[in-house]
């Protein structure tokens, strides 16, 4: 733990207190998300599939799981099928992913990465790692593991509740 972990100062922004939100998980999670997402978008702005958390996750999944189906991606993203379908559309348009019909189920699609998509996936991994190192440098080294464990547990429990 970092040395100053025990102090719990009132959060004040531009001289203002934020009422009940000061003690609300939701406030901090939402605020962090908006800045983190904006930062990630900036870092990926030069890529053909920039903008939007769904696309990068989908691309990595296709790269890791040849033949994966859109509905599986939808499950990971917690999105509905239309939203996921449009994400796949973009990946196909960008030449990163190829659609085939799943051999065992003619309703379903099997998605495959292209050479372009594979290169893109590698770039994305680098960008994500860079963001973790650079953007989150404000999290003291000593706190990282613990913060990550808590986030993971929160995430897992939230998903359990969700499904």
């Amino acid at each position: 733990m970092a040395d100053d972990s025990e102090d719990d100062p009132e959060i004040i922004i531009g001289g203002l207190q934020i009422d009940v939100l000061e003690g609300a998980f939701s406030w901090y999670i939402r605020s962090l998300d908006s800045v983190v997402s904006a930062d990630l978008d900036r870092r990926m702005a030069h890529l053909s599939i920039a903008q939007g958390k769904g696309r990068i996750t989908a691309l990595l999944l296709v790269d890791d799981y040849p033949g994966i189906r859109p509905s599986q991606i939808a499950d990971v993203l917690m999105r509905d099928r239309p939203a996921t379908g449009r994400i796949v559309d973009r990946l196909v348009q960008a030449g990163a992913v190829r659609r085939e019909t799943a051999p065992d189920d003619l309703r379903a699609q099997a998605l495959f990465i292209t050479p372009t998509g594979h290169r893109l996936a590698d770039e994305i991994r680098d960008i994500v790692r860079a963001q973790e190192a650079e953007f989150f440098d404000f999290i003291p080294e000593a706190d990282r593991d613990q913060f990550m464990r808590m986030l993971k547990r929160a995430y897992l429990n939230m998903r359990k509740k969700w499904d």
Copy 2:
């Protein structure tokens, strides 16, 4: 700390690993945000100013700081002035907030809560507290303080970086 705090299981969703995102703060923050926001929206769906994190924050601020200016709210929300102006528009339309011209600066506005807005603010406080208690019940009691401290520190450092 809760007793199982030391295990660090690989995150697997629907049988799939999530590549580099498995170790990325950004993934968990984004995922948590989308579910928390959806949950909060549901809880507020019956209110006249439902939907959107900006409105509830703005209303609470006006309730707490009579005469506050839109630009101050924009600073807290980390939004630009047009976005904030439209949030105030909605609050005024809903009869929750009243605009006046700031006496000391004729360009600026001074915002004041109405009786309706004050009641609404109280309802919102209850909803936020209820969500903290009910939605985040998956965070073990023993972890709450620490998780909150870490979120606050992350938030403060992020804002420092932002400004």
